[in-house]
Symmetry: C2
Subunit: 181 residues, 2 copies
């Protein structure tokens, strides 16, 4: 869901590589050495910027959450249908263009294997996204959890079946439902 960045220093390149790998292989599928190779440095240099794996992954999570929430913007500035379409489009892009998990979808699945500080960041992301959705839909709608769940699950389905159209079907159907409501 996160977008492009340019003119990066080593620290940002490390975050980029870590994010990419976390979204594809999960926490235990990422190693300092792989990240270092992506960036073109040695693994000790990764430790220089991020002393432990927990601090590195927490930094990735924080940057990712901030970027997503910034992209969502002010829920009051949009009607319910537009808000759902915007959120759906972010998920659709993650699948279609990046062919990877939403970072926090991955972290939600693996939460039992994550350092506590990373789990906390995941909880924050979902809480804030739900708050945003509820604000956009109207507080009494009660659809926020289901819409977010459908989008996250759509990514799972599309990845498991290796078929991005799964995600598109979900976004389309949820949008229609919400426009009708």
């Amino acid at each position: 869901m996160a977008t492009a960045r340019r003119r990066e220093g080593t620290a940002e390149k490390i975050l980029d590589s870590a994010e990419e790998r976390l979204c594809r292989y999960g926490y235990n599928g990422v190693s300092f050495r792989d990240i270092a190779a992506d960036v073109g440095v040695k693994s000790a240099s990764v430790h220089y910027f991020f002393p432990t794996k927990a601090t590195l992954v927490a930094a990735v999570a924080r940057r990712y959450a901030d970027l997503c929430l910034a992209e969502l913007g002010d829920p009051a500035a949009r009607g319910p249908a537009e808000a759902v379409a915007l959120l759906g489009e972010m998920f659709r892009r993650t699948v279609a263009e990046r062919k990877r998990m939403c970072l926090f979808g991955m972290m939600a699945a693996e939460i039992g294997a994550l350092p506590a500080e990373v789990g906390a960041e995941a909880r924050r992301f979902f809480a804030e996204t739900l708050r945003w959705l509820r604000a956009a839909l109207g507080e009494d709608s009660g659809a926020a959890e289901t819409i977010l769940a459908a989008f996250e699950g759509g990514v799972l389905l599309a990845r498991a079946m290796d078929d991005p159209s799964m995600m598109e079907k979900v976004v389309e159907r949820v949008s229609i439902h919400e426009a009708r409501a």
Copy 2:
């Protein structure tokens, strides 16, 4: 989603432990030694029954998928609303009673880190479950993907927020929507 078993030999105990750990920590969060300790044998004995990690995890996936699909039964034997309620109940139980991921939800997330034979088993599970749902809903409904996505995503949300009521809200809302349709 899988249910209880009794009078097990070592091979079944190994599958039980592996399934439990896979649902909680993911593929790379499971080790032969941990499983062996659960069962009360040495890791070489696990290799005796399942020579490689890929064969072990594929066996877990096969058993899990077969059990789930057997529990779903014949889609023609139920109306659409009942079918959705049954599927929803299976997901609800996974979260409320086991406090873990649906195995294939986890595998969908981590699919990039999985041996090919395991990924194939995941694809089979989702394809068959969707086929079952489509048969139950009526072929032209087009809601199957979204319903399954919402349920899988509901598990993610409930785990990330450590709040089983998330899953319950999703099941409830999807059921109501489907009963109305």
